[in-house]
Symmetry: C2
Subunit: 294 residues, 2 copies
């Protein structure tokens, strides 16, 4: 198996592209791939200030490395959810990566700010840990992006995440979520910045290979609360479909993007501002403040 | 495992309905299920004349048995495609079933009518066997329904067929086919009758169980040309999704029916009549006549 560019020994075969590449040319391919995804979906431009949501996993660390390598002005945001050793390890690896690359990182420590971790707070309320985790991360992404004057929030969602979520939303014909699965969502009002997924066309495997070959030390553990989660099982379903016909995930997602307008407009109807924190909300006090500030 | 209706030993467990039934109550459940599907999707009424497309497999024989048992006026149509021993066996089992039930059956023998079997004709042309088989069966369903003054053509497509086709069409975002995957399609002009799929909400397994418990002898072999067909492999993908969350196939398909209008109108734009046979065509001579009549 030889690199299609230089003919030396290939380090990876990308079956969905029928392409084998050596280490050097795979890393270059990833950089071009991400740059072209950003351009194709008009995510942001040269001078944009990008808040990168960084969990410490392969996807978000690869994203941060790629964006800073491409010359974008980035600020990393890590939310420490307080999920035992998993969160501690995630934070350590994120901080170590930022330090090694000289990148600016902001850490939100949920327990330090609110006196409880996400699992502790979930135990006292009606939201599941996963639901509360999502609410908390989304809130801080929006809030920090607004307060720091960033132009866009970039997340590390990969092609496997997006196609398994798409499949789940199609199985349930959840039109609201089907309208919002796009790689780029424009800003909504003054206070919710644009959201971008520059790794939307990169697979989990490509992102892991990028980290390995770039010497990026990432958290390999899955969150302990994700065990048996349907979205993980649907990744297996998509993997089977991809085995049957390589390129299925890519065609499925890019075709979706072209046709997502069929499912309606992707905008939230958050017209009011929360009376406590000033961030947008459907009505009255926002869900975050209701949960975390009584 | 006991029958939910009468408490005697259950013959089958329907996991997607969380329902166990004995032989008698399963057969009654199937009759009600098909009757309610016909009603729910307004397929046809009490006095309708139904042309039943019968291959000799479990689905079409179960369908014919159920429709005639429900009191509908039916005519069976079997197209003998000339695919070696597979077609010979299919025809024999169809004829035996019709004779045993005293049902009227019309057999179209492709080789007798056109001098060649479907595989023989395919070998001389650009269409694959599967494409030519589909063209030929659709043509005779429409033509016989028109000439015999039937109101509707009923086919034995089951929930597994329909969800694997739906998944395939979604993977490719094939909007034309996504608009047409409905359980009922209204007539198109004078000469193309309505098409109905009364087993749309019944699984392959339910249809097979119905035949076994009703003593219906059906062809168990798959067509030799279907080996490795993508649609068969996608059935495996749907089976995996169903394992993860029982009821997925049913929710996926019924949700699709509610939302199919998003993909446009399901009608063909066949405005002309074929200059040779008089059946509708996009332009000039129809594909069937071009293929089978030079």
């Amino acid at each position: 198996m030889k690199c299609r560019v230089c003919g030396s020994r290939a380090a990876i075969k990308l079956r969905e592209h029928n392409l084998s590449l050596c280490e050097e040319h795979f890393l270059a391919w990833m950089r071009r791939r991400v740059a072209s995804t950003i351009g194709k979906y008009r995510m942001f431009g040269r001078g944009s200030k990008v808040l990168v949501a960084v969990s410490g996993g392969k996807d978000s660390l690869a994203l941060w490395d790629l964006l800073s390598g491409l010359g974008y002005s980035t600020l990393g945001l890590h939310v420490d959810l307080g999920i035992g050793e998993y969160s501690a390890l995630s934070r350590r690896k994120t901080e170590a990566f930022a330090a090694s690359r000289g990148l600016e990182l902001l850490v939100i420590d949920v327990r330090a700010l609110h006196g409880e971790s996400v699992p502790e707070r979930a135990r006292r309320g009606s939201r599941s840990v996963c639901s509360l985790c999502g609410l908390t991360k989304r809130y801080y992404m929006n809030r920090v992006a607004y307060e720091k004057g960033m132009d866009v929030v970039a997340t590390g969602h990969n092609l496997d995440d997006l196609t398994s979520a798409l499949l789940s939303n199609l199985f349930r014909w959840d039109l609201e979520h089907l309208a919002k699965g796009l790689p780029y969502l424009p800003p909504s009002g003054e206070r919710v910045k644009a959201r971008a997924k520059p790794l939307a066309l990169c697979t989990e495997r490509q992102n892991a290979a990028y980290c390995l070959l770039s010497g990026i030390d990432y958290v390999e553990e899955e969150c302990p609360y994700s065990e048996g989660a349907t979205f993980l099982e649907l990744k297996g379903v998509m993997r089977m479909a991809e085995e049957i016909s390589p390129g299925t995930k890519l065609r499925f997602y890019t075709g979706y993007v072209q046709n997502a307008h069929l499912f309606g407009r992707p905008f939230d109807e958050e017209k009011e501002l929360c009376d406590l924190c000033g961030m947008p909300t459907y009505v009255g006090r926002c869900a975050f403040c209701r949960t975390w500030r009584g």
